[in-house]
Amino acid sequence: MKRTAVMGLLLALALILSYVESLIPLPIGIPGIKIGLANLAVVLAMYLVGERNALLLTISKAVLSGLLFGNLTVILYNLAGALISFLTMALMKKAGRFHLPVISAVGGVMHNTGQLLVACVIVSTYGIVYYVPFLLIAGLVTGMVIGSVAVLVLPAVRKGMNGGSRE
């Protein structure tokens, strides 16, 4: 498989997971807070096609899912969490001192923290901080699960990418 094909597949995966996420209601009055399923595509991209392509995927994911399930305000807003999350994960990967599930967990936590910070600017009250403990634990747990899934999936996909023609 070529890189472009892998990128296409990952973007499709990201959008499907974004859709699934949008069906799972979180009883929190902050837009953009997610359980972080779509992060799986970004994590896989980081390890399969490199950081630069993963960044491209992160931005495409935020823009496209914003177009599909929101509007322009939502897109700009979603980019905040997506970019903070990506940056943290890329730095942690580069540091080489953490396992993938933990990197992915921090990515999940940082995504929601980013959304929370933007919400704080919009509302300008302390009130939102009320949700922080829940978001931290939720981001940690989903991130760990998704990171573990990535650890299991990565060898097979790598084999497929290098192996060539057969499925």
Binding site: P27, G29, P31, R97, A105, T125, V129
Partner: protein
């Protein structure tokens, strides 16, 4: 391998400690305020309306062009958005708010509802 494990544990530890600290802050704040005060309706950063939590009311919040609406429902001391014509419906799914500082944000409509109990805070903290 072992070094990575150390890094992992530090990070997970930090996240858990932060969660506990914020949880304790919430516990303290919960004692100070309960379901009283006002729900402020903020549109594009300005307070446009205020409703007391003590009175049950259902009111449709329209924007200036009367194209976007959010249905605000106050019942038994807590407020929620029971319907809206925004694309994502995040505000409708949001849990009812009652404690000081709790908010519901409808980003597509640039609308914020937040609870403010007068005892703790003055109006200038919101408008300023």
């Amino acid at each position: 391998m072992f070094q990575k494990l150390k890094g992992d544990l530090i990070i997970v530890g930090i996240i858990i400690v932060l969660a506990v600290v914020f949880f304790l802050i919430n516990l303290i704040r919960d004692r100070q305020s309960s379901g009283e005060g006002n729900v402020l309706v903020v549109r594009d950063g300005r307070v446009v309306e205020s409703y007391p939590l003590s009175e049950d009311i259902t009111v449709t919040l329209w924007d200036e062009e009367r194209t976007h609406y959010n249905l605000l429902m106050i019942k038994d001391g807590s407020a929620e958005i029971s319907d809206a014509n925004c694309p994502d419906k995040i505000c409708v799914r949001s849990r009812a708010i009652a404690r000081d500082g709790e908010s519901i944000i409808c980003l597509p409509h640039r609308l914020v509802l937040s609870v403010h109990s007068e005892r703790e805070r003055d109006m200038d903290a919101v408008t300023g």
